[in-house]
């Protein structure tokens, strides 16, 4: 695939209208929650209901990555999914992770940050992943009856990672108070329709103060708190820094961060405007600055090779082998955007080995044509001549896919 004639217009055009991938046949979170319930009833640990969901939805997600004609928009989807990480390391998330992308992330990638934040914080996947589904107001009816209490995990990560970050100066008391605000934001498994549920009996009544803002109780106070957090300058700084680090450079140029931050501030968190500002940054057009993460690398390779569906390997397994198990970040801060975290010797050798393995599946593809189409003039002469001089197609393709330029974007 050669570069379009008007790259900027091509990228911007991807952000118009709804996300075409919304219409793929994803499982909903209600279906996921039903499957969790049915698997629990089976008591055999075989996950007969959840397993088909993750298998089908992951295959769909990977097919979207490989075939989309809006790859920039798709990168934004995965960027925001990583900003608001949920991880399959928490077992029940397995049934809900793609519903989470479909229901909480995709609709808002070109919308308002506050809407995405609210959708994320009320989604069963996040409520389960960061334990809020089981957080009880210590003085709530349900909390007293069940002798259960607060779990501050979601409240803490929302402040630390998703919104204002520690530079805003919040304290442990703010975390605890915010956790009380979020009590009752829970998940219904057992009754129809399964999904988000505000458990008024688990909600801590009474007034709370979070970062100086006073909340009087009830489900609406959480919405107000998220609305306030979404519009803080420290939140905009956080989002701008992460966007620039992801799309421009490991060490974000302060001027670039300031531009994106200004747009977020002026538009009250319009994520489409922020993405367009990233595209407008001169720094964003310097080629080959960012080392690809394993998933990004593998998708880049597969898009370059354009293998027919039957010859594609199991990419979920490949992501894991290369150090980025599919949707399974170890911690709520998600996958790193720094080259040094992905450039360890063994990690790079595994890419080379995998490149050799996938090159063996490429059949009679023409390595020089693929090199021209994927990197073209960005390939230096010595890489190109090594490809031309290779002993066979597989070696030539391995050299292309293992080359330093292919590790970057």
């Amino acid at each position: 695939m050669a570069l379009p004639a008007d790259p900027r217009g091509w990228l911007a055009g991807q952000l118009d209208g709804p996300d075409a991938a919304m219409d793929r046949p994803w499982h909903s979170s209600a279906e996921g929650l039903r499957a969790i319930r049915l698997d629990q009833q089976d008591k055999d640990g075989k996950q007969a209901h959840v397993r088909p969901i993750i298998t089908a939805d992951a295959a769909t997600a990977i097919d979207v990555l490989l075939t989309t004609d809006a790859p920039f928009r798709e990168r934004l989807v995965w960027f925001w999914a990583n900003h608001f990480t949920v991880s399959l390391r928490r077992g029940q998330v397995t049934a809900l992770a793609h519903a989470y992308l479909r229901e909480a992330i995709r609709p808002h990638v070109t919308g308002r940050f506050e809407d995405m934040l609210v959708a994320v914080m009320r989604h069963p996947a996040m409520l389960i992943y960061l334990d809020n589904a089981q957080s009880f107001g210590p003085n709530s009816n349900a909390g007293m009856r069940a002798r259960r209490g607060l779990n501050e995990n979601l409240a803490r990560e929302c402040l630390e990672l998703h919104t204002v970050t520690p530079v805003s100066g919040y304290t442990q008391t703010d975390v605890t108070e915010f956790a009380k605000v979020l009590t009752g934001w829970s998940v219904r498994y057992d009754e129809e329709p399964p999904g988000y549920l505000f458990r008024v009996n688990a909600h801590e009544l009474g007034s709370k103060t979070v970062m100086g803002q006073v909340y009087a109780g009830g489900e609406g106070e959480g919405m107000r708190a998220l609305g306030w957090l979404a519009e803080q300058p420290s939140t905009y700084r956080n989002l701008a820094t992460k966007l620039v680090r992801h799309f421009v450079a490991d060490v974000p140029p302060p001027g670039a961060v300031a531009r994106v931050e200004r747009v977020l501030s002026q538009t009250k968190g319009n994520l489409k405007a922020a993405a367009l500002e990233v595209v407008a940054l001169p720094d964003a057009w310097t080629p080959l600055t960012k080392l690809r993460r394993p998933m990004d690398y593998v998708v880049g390779v597969l898009r370059a090779l354009d293998l027919p569906q039957g010859r594609r390997p199991d990419l979920r397994g490949v992501f894991g082998m290369l150090g980025q198990p599919y949707m399974s970040a170890p911690l709520p801060n998600g996958w790193s955007d720094l080259a040094e975290d992905w450039a360890a010797p063994e990690a790079l050798l595994r890419r080379i080995d995998w490149a050799y393995s996938i090159a063996g599946r490429a059949g009679d593809a023409d390595p020089v044509a693929i090199a021209d189409a994927s990197l073209g003039e960005l390939l230096p002469a010595d890489t190109m001549s090594a490809i031309r001089r290779a002993g066979d197609r597989r070696e030539a393709l391995t050299l292309l896919l293992a080359a330093p330029e292919f590790q970057r974007r």
């Binding site: 957080s135 779990n151 450039a343 050798l349």
Partner: protein
């Protein structure tokens, strides 16, 4: 989970040139046969679950449903002398304790009072009190240990097992990584051509050269021939492999291992039992791999902070302050629990919720670096800047 071992060869080149001026080189001690391994438990181990102070009158009341079975009963704590008891999944470590090769340090914490995993891990690994607000370090403390050791005739210092180098080991002393080789890989000649394409690359060039060398494809091998090593990929297996590498007379002398799975906000009891078992088997595997070199080894096991004393609303614990650390090995004066016990009554807790720290992880590390590796005061101050109030802990080492 990642496992890192440092390799000496790299230090002989770049590391020593960059970080060691003549002065510090002159006072640096030769590492000789001494080994140091750091095991970092990422996610915050609940110290009160790993080493329960069952003799504290407030313990059972504060722990609620997380209170363990008392020593002497089936599935009960493994007693450590009448006040503390080890989690029953730590049977191997209990054996080391009885052989006076395991020292338990309790109510211990890093320099930071942050309940953020990421801040606390950064500080623990960079070796600074407050990395975010300065001084900001560009290398991990364990890497600075590597640069602090004098070059010797050993072939290698910085050698790594795993796919990621933890911050703790990042810095001028280059650190390779190693994991079991995957099934198919290019032949020696194709490796050599790929390595040549990467040679000028600032990020990937050295990493690929180191990676190939660590798999047995040294510069010479890339022209000749030799077979790569192989092993299974579990923490105990990798720990045992690391032990074997450290045991090699010409092998590395310092190593870092990581094990995750400690962030037990919910359903702590069953989750912790599994991961503690892995840790226990891994430490025993390390000892097995080290063989006779175990006598010359200190292993430090630490985590970024402890967890809340009381159970939370979901039978788990939240981010806390002080916790537990372990020093083990043939060079350790073990068979003791070392703690100035602060008590578990609510008024004694930090913010009425966390075990109070009465010891500093940096003091423990400095005590080992000084006594075991022979690093002097000036080097310790470089490795842990701003740690003047954490004097090297005495009595950790044998003899």
């Amino acid at each position: 989970m990642t496992l890192i071992v440092s390799r000496r060869g790299a230090l002989l080149g770049l590391g020593s040139a960059i970080s060691l001026g003549g002065a510090s080189l002159a006072v640096a001690a030769a590492p000789g046969e001494k080994r140091l391994v750091v095991v970092l438990l990422r996610g915050a181990l609940d110290g009160l679950a790993a080493v329960a102070p069952y003799g504290d009158a407030d313990f059972v009341g504060q722990r609620g449903v997380l209170a363990p079975v008392m020593p002497g009963q089936p599935g009960g704590l493994l007693d450590l002398g009448g006040f503390y008891g080890l989690h029953p999944a730590l049977a191997g470590m209990h054996g080391l304790y009885q052989a006076n090769e395991l020292l338990v340090l309790h109510a211990i914490a890093g320099a930071t009072r942050s309940r953020s995993h990421f801040e606390a891990q950064d500080n623990l690994e960079f070796g600074t009190p407050d990395h975010a607000n300065g001084p900001r370090m560009t290398s991990g403390w364990h890497n600075r240990v590597a640069t602090g050791l004098a070059p010797t005739s050993h072939a290698e210092l910085a050698f790594a097992v795993g796919s990621v180098v933890p911050l703790m080991l990042r810095g001028p002393a280059p650190t390779g990584t190693w994991l079991p080789a995957t099934a198919t890989h290019p032949g020696t000649d194709l490796y050599a051509r790929i390595a040549a394409l990467h040679r000028p690359d600032a990020i990937t060039g050295r990493a690929i050269r180191d990676g190939l060398r660590d798999r047995g494809f040294s510069e010479a091998v890339l022209a000749g021939a030799e077979a790569p090593r192989n092993t299974a990929n579990s923490f105990p297996a990798l720990a045992e492999a690391a032990g074997r590498l450290l045991a090699d007379p010409k092998g590395p002398r310092i190593a870092a291992l990581e094990l995750g799975g400690w962030d037990t906000h919910a359903a702590q009891a069953p989750r912790l039992a599994g991961v503690l078992g892995q840790l226990d088997r891994g430490l025993i595997g390390l000892k097995t791999g080290l063989g006779v070199a175990w006598a010359q080894t200190v292993v430090l096991v630490m985590t970024e902070f402890g967890r809340t004393v009381r159970v939370n609303g979901t039978n788990g614990t939240d981010h806390g302050t002080a916790g537990v650390a372990f020093a083990l090995g043939g060079a350790v004066a073990g068979g003791k629990v070392r703690a100035t016990w602060p008590g578990l009554a609510t008024p004694k807790l930090v913010d009425a919720r966390d075990l109070a720290p009465t010891a500093d992880l940096r003091a423990l590390a400095k005590g080992v670096l000084g006594g075991h590796l022979g690093l002097g005061a000036a080097q310790l101050a470089t490795i842990f800047p701003g740690s003047g109030d954490a004097a090297p802990m005495a009595g950790v080492l044998r003899g």
